[in-house]
């Protein structure tokens, strides 16, 4: 006989470390930011709580509002080349852990460090679109630039936001980022690490996109944001005449 799950917080409300989210055996946490202490589920981070009803039990998770980017295999990130080793590059991916891009993940042929230089392919200061191949916290994340849409960035602007705001910039099933692209005609690539690549036909549109992204970052925890950002873009566009 298990006790019925008791959810002790309003769904979609802001929770803080130490807040008791729920009590009971048939509530399962689905976030690393929830701790089970006895029968209680306790939040360990500032975020928005999401409650799902799975029929016979309930699932609770937290969307963090703050926090560093922790790489996960499969993530698309935008990195900045920081250092060149003998057969690898060290890449800053706006995370506590630095990315490692080995030469095998860049070139299709064997690489001879005696006759060839890595500098020819990627230099310090280059931005790249990369994918996280492996990361287990024991070693630094491995990156690759083999794949469609990956590689060195040669044009566009990079906007940096807090990694915790990325889900909001993307929106539910990409609704926010699709709206941004449709309203401005720019192409936007959102890296999971909080760096965003914006390519626009002209400078004015680029500014509008950057301001919109900054607005989303500042108001990430509010509701009805997509429509407000749409109105913001239209207003800015008519004001600038683009």
């Amino acid at each position: 006989m298990t006790a019925l799950a008791k959810i002790l917080v309003e769904p979609r409300s802001i929770v803080l470390p130490g807040d008791v989210l729920a009590e009971g055996d048939d509530v399962e946490p689905s976030s690393i930011y929830i701790e089970r202490v006895g029968k209680k589920l306790i939040a360990t981070i500032t975020g928005i709580v999401v409650v799902e009803d799975l029929g016979d039990k309930k699932r609770v998770s937290i969307i963090p509002l703050e926090g560093a980017y922790i790489p996960r295999p499969g993530d698309i990130v935008i990195g900045l080349v920081k250092d060149i080793g003998i057969t690898h590059w060290e890449v800053d991916i706006a995370s506590p852990y630095k990315g490692v891009l080995t030469v095998q993940e860049v070139l299709d042929r064997p690489f001879n460090p005696a006759t060839d230089s890595l500098k020819k392919y990627l230099d310090v200061g280059d931005y790249i679109v990369a994918k996280v191949v492996a990361f287990d916290r024991a070693r630094d994340p491995l990156l690759t630039i083999k794949g469609e849409g990956l590689g060195r960035i040669s044009e566009g602007a990079i906007v940096e936001i807090k990694p915790s705001r990325v889900p909001r910039v993307i929106g539910r099933k990409g609704s926010m980022v699709n709206m941004l692209m449709k309203e401005t005609g720019c192409s936007i690539l959102v890296g999971q690490n909080g760096r965003i690549l914006v390519k626009c036909p002209n400078k004015d549109l680029e500014e509008v996109v950057i301001l919109s992204i900054k607005k989303i970052e500042a108001e990430a925890h509010t509701s009805g944001l997509t429509e407000r950002v749409r109105a913001f873009i239209r207003e800015e566009r008519s004001r600038r005449g683009v």
Binding site: L16, P17, G18, T46, P96, K98, E219
Partner: protein
């Protein structure tokens, strides 16, 4: 803490209220009253998380950086994050200039504050990184270490570092034979005892407990009870301060 200098002033006055004799402190507070408290989160833009906390005349700012790459690399631990704490008093924080170099007292307080925070921060989530916490006392009027812990815990929450609970601290003391909450500088200087306490209320853990001076067992229990109630109040103010950050943007 500074010893008594000169003649000891009268710090407790016994007043008659509703036919009862009640101890009133030099600033008009009752034994179980906190000083006016102010908390603000997100006061520094360069830090990942920050907070300003005031207990009366005591004013402490805390900044958190991290989790970030451990520098120098050899201090990193393979299974968890390293917590680094610096408690420091600004040269202008006291009536007489304090030398800016860390004193023995500051080194000790940095250590006990670090240990207090280590018991709530979930360091296993961020192996091989460091979390740096800087606490700067801008103005000192007693209870700076407890204000520093309260500020540090707010700054950690603001930075998005995973914690089992927020921590709040307050000092209790025995002044003129009366056990009082949140003692200030003057009371501390002439107190028979001074006991800083920090508690993580939701998980019911005492994370810092120091005692300077002498208390009987009963006085100790009374002091702990006062501290617990005071921390309960501070804890609510901490949560309000954190929520306020998100409500303000909305409006």
């Amino acid at each position: 803490m500074g010893g008594a200098a000169g003649e000891k002033p009268q710090l407790i006055h016994w007043e008659e209220r509703d036919g009862e004799k009640i101890p009133v402190r030099h600033d008009g507070r009752l034994p179980d009253q906190l000083r006016p408290v102010r908390m603000e989160v997100g006061v520094l833009s360069n830090a990942d998380g920050s907070a300003l906390v005031e207990y009366g005349g005591t004013r402490v700012i805390a900044a958190v950086y991290g989790p970030r790459e451990a520098v120098p690399r050899h201090i990193a631990l393979p299974d968890r994050a390293v917590l680094r704490c610096r408690y420091h008093m600004a040269p202008f924080s006291t009536a007489e200039r304090k030398t800016p170099a860390p004193t023995r007292r500051e080194v000790e307080l940095s250590k006990v504050i670090r240990e207090a925070l280590e018991s709530v921060v979930i360091t296993e989530l961020f192996p091989r990184t460091t979390i740096d916490i800087y606490m700067e006392v801008l103005q000192s009027d007693g209870g700076t270490r407890t204000a520093a812990i309260t500020a540090a815990s707010l700054a950690l929450a603001d930075a998005g570092v995973a914690m089992r609970d927020l921590v709040a601290g307050v000092a209790v003391g025995k002044v003129d034979g009366v056990v009082v909450l949140d003692i200030d500088e003057i009371e501390d200087n002439y107190a028979e005892a001074d006991m800083p306490v920090a508690i993580a209320p939701s998980i019911g853990k005492v994370v810092l407990l120091q005692l300077n001076g002498v208390l009987t067992r009963d006085e100790f229990r009374e002091g702990m009870e006062l501290a617990r109630k005071g921390i309960e109040t501070l804890y609510k103010l901490q949560k309000e301060a954190l929520r306020r950050k998100y409500v303000e943007v909305k409006g």
